[in-house]
């Protein structure tokens, strides 16, 4: 039980870290797209 608890904790930690990173990248992508659209609107 203790061994599986340890390995399970590691797996969970890795999943959480990667998920948070992916959410951060998604937010950045949205910001970049918004700023590019705004520039295209301003250029018109």
């Amino acid at each position: 039980m203790f061994v599986w608890g340890s390995f399970g904790a590691v797996a969970l930690a890795i999943v959480v870290e990667i998920t948070l990173l992916r959410l951060r990248i998604k937010r950045i992508r949205q910001q970049i797209n918004d700023s590019r659209v705004d520039r295209q609107v301003n250029d018109r």
Binding site: V3, S6, V10, R29, V37
Partner: protein
């Protein structure tokens, strides 16, 4: 070849993008081999039985917690000495992963301590100093987020990390300096290994796997930090427009089409 050009975030960004898949694949392969060695090939311990297998996670994560902090301190010295922005960004990128490894080291240590020592936690020198390391990581993250001006935040964070780095040798030598419940070093550069060779090999392979994982994740995070800071500075218009979709392989994608 001028390697100093990679000190610029704009030049380092595509290089980091090309390196990430290599480190990620290496981490996965080493983890698979390490887990096979540790969970399948290595024999049970004559005293602890199967519960000792936590060593294949506990020791690598503890090593990474200390190594990442020392790397952060080195970046802190570079950031303060050369006023290098990328060094500060690397510190910021490494901190969450270092904190994660510290939590895992403490958690797996507690799960190992209960069946072997009869207690999840004791206030011995190594465990207490590792807990302080976790506070240092969290303190760095909190401090840099609390200061709005990025340059001041980077300087304050670098100072905190450099001063806190005195804790790492305390953690490492605590089992030698004090009469602690935590066992002494089983693996040493000077005196070799006191463990069975298969156990030592599994532990070292897992340590390498954790190292490759930490590098891959830090590179992904530093790319995100570089873009975020560019967006904050309003420089995103010029620099990001020079990136093509290959550079954006971390999933930053193509700009959506204008519909209005």
């Amino acid at each position: 070849m001028n390697i100093y050009k990679y000190a610029s975030p704009a030049t380092f960004y595509p290089l980091a993008g090309r390196l990430i898949p290599w480190f990620a694949v290496l981490a996965a392969m080493l983890a698979a081999v390490g887990l096979y060695l540790g969970l399948y090939l290595a024999p049970p311990d004559f005293q602890q039985g199967e519960v000792y297998r936590i060593i294949f996670i506990h020791v690598p994560t503890a090593w990474m917690a200390m190594i990442i902090y020392l790397v952060m301190a080195a970046y802190g010295v570079m950031a303060l000495s050369f006023n290098a922005r990328l060094s500060s960004m690397m510190m910021e990128a490494l901190a969450p992963t270092g904190a994660m490894f510290t939590v895992l080291a403490l958690w797996t240590g507690a799960l190992w301590g209960k069946p072997t020592w009869g207690a999840y936690w004791v206030w011995d020198a190594r465990m207490t100093s590792t807990l302080i390391l976790l506070f240092l990581y969290v303190g760095y993250i909190a401090l840099t987020h609390a200061i709005e001006d990025k340059k001041r935040a980077d300087k304050a964070g670098a100072l905190l990390v450099i001063v806190g780095s005195v804790n790492v040798p305390i953690i490492y030598f605590s089992v030698k300096w004090w009469n602690t419940l935590h066992q002494g070093a089983s693996v040493s550069v000077t005196s070799g290994s006191k463990m069975a060779s298969m156990m030592a090999l599994g532990m070292l392979v897992m340590a390498l796997a954790c190292w490759m994982y930490a590098i891959a994740v830090a590179l992904v995070r530093v790319r995100a930090i570089i873009i975020e800071r560019e967006l904050e500075n309003g420089g995103a218009a010029n620099w990001l427009n020079t990136l093509d979709t290959q550079d954006m392989q971390v999933g930053l994608g193509k700009p959506r089409q204008l519909t209005r």
